[in-house]
Amino acid sequence: MKTLIIVGHPDIDGSDTQQFLKAAAAEVPTATWRPLPATTGAATLAACDRLVLQFPLHWYQAPGLLTDWLTATLAQPAARTALAGKSLGVVATFGQSASAFHPGAGVGVSLDALLSPYQALATKLGMRLLPPLTVAQFAYADEAARRALFVRYQQYLTLADPASIAQQAAWWAKRLNQQDQPAAATLATALTARQERLAGLAATLHTVEEGTTLG
């Protein structure tokens, strides 16, 4: 999957969060990191399978840098056509706790509500919207959370359905088999066998459930 990451941050070099994500994206050969401001033609959009809009929330919205890019790019009919059928990802970062983004909480509005324009955008362009990947308070994240984000972001750039355990398992196995380590190959084999076991159990459960329903 070829992924184009449009990074709408006014100071990428000064942002620890963006530098972290940039390092993770650098390990994904099929991902292209495109910082704004930039001009993106229809041919570039046509060449990607996934467009990722990545930005910090500034006053609960994307920065003007990103909306200017959307306005300029989507003014081209060929660009709008080029994006049809592709997937749209949204990576939003912010300095408040995720728990504040709920009715009755500090922000009073959910992240889903704040990011709903991207659902409308996806619908208009004939794109499939992925659930957003949100990064709250990166500065306060411990090492375990950062490691999890590093991998989760890479999977967000490469998996058709990043939440699918089956696809995650295939991703792990593929990456393990690319390592020059006998232990890695052993892990890949075991992980794959276990995923097959899980798939078999799910299929059997489905059959049993159907039998119960029909009986």
Binding site: A23, R146, L187, A190, L198
Partner: protein, 60 residues
């Protein structure tokens, strides 16, 4: 699910994380250990659910 095998696999992943020479490799293997644990839990849950359904006499 064989708990001993799961523990061994997770241990292998953690050892590779400890030996990693750069951050991407360390993150990769550390998260792999977590994924292996998650996968084992899901298998246990599915096996338990299947056992429960097969041995539920009300469905016979």
């Amino acid at each position: 699910m064989d708990d001993d095998e799961t523990s061994w696999l997770i241990d292998q992943a953690n050892q590779l994380a400890a030996q990693a020479v750069d951050y991407p490799a360390q993150a990769f293997y550390a998260e792999l250990a977590d994924f292996l644990a998650t996968q084992a839990r899901r298998i246990d849950q599915a096996e338990g659910e299947l056992d429960g359904r097969l041995w539920d006499h009300t469905g016979w």
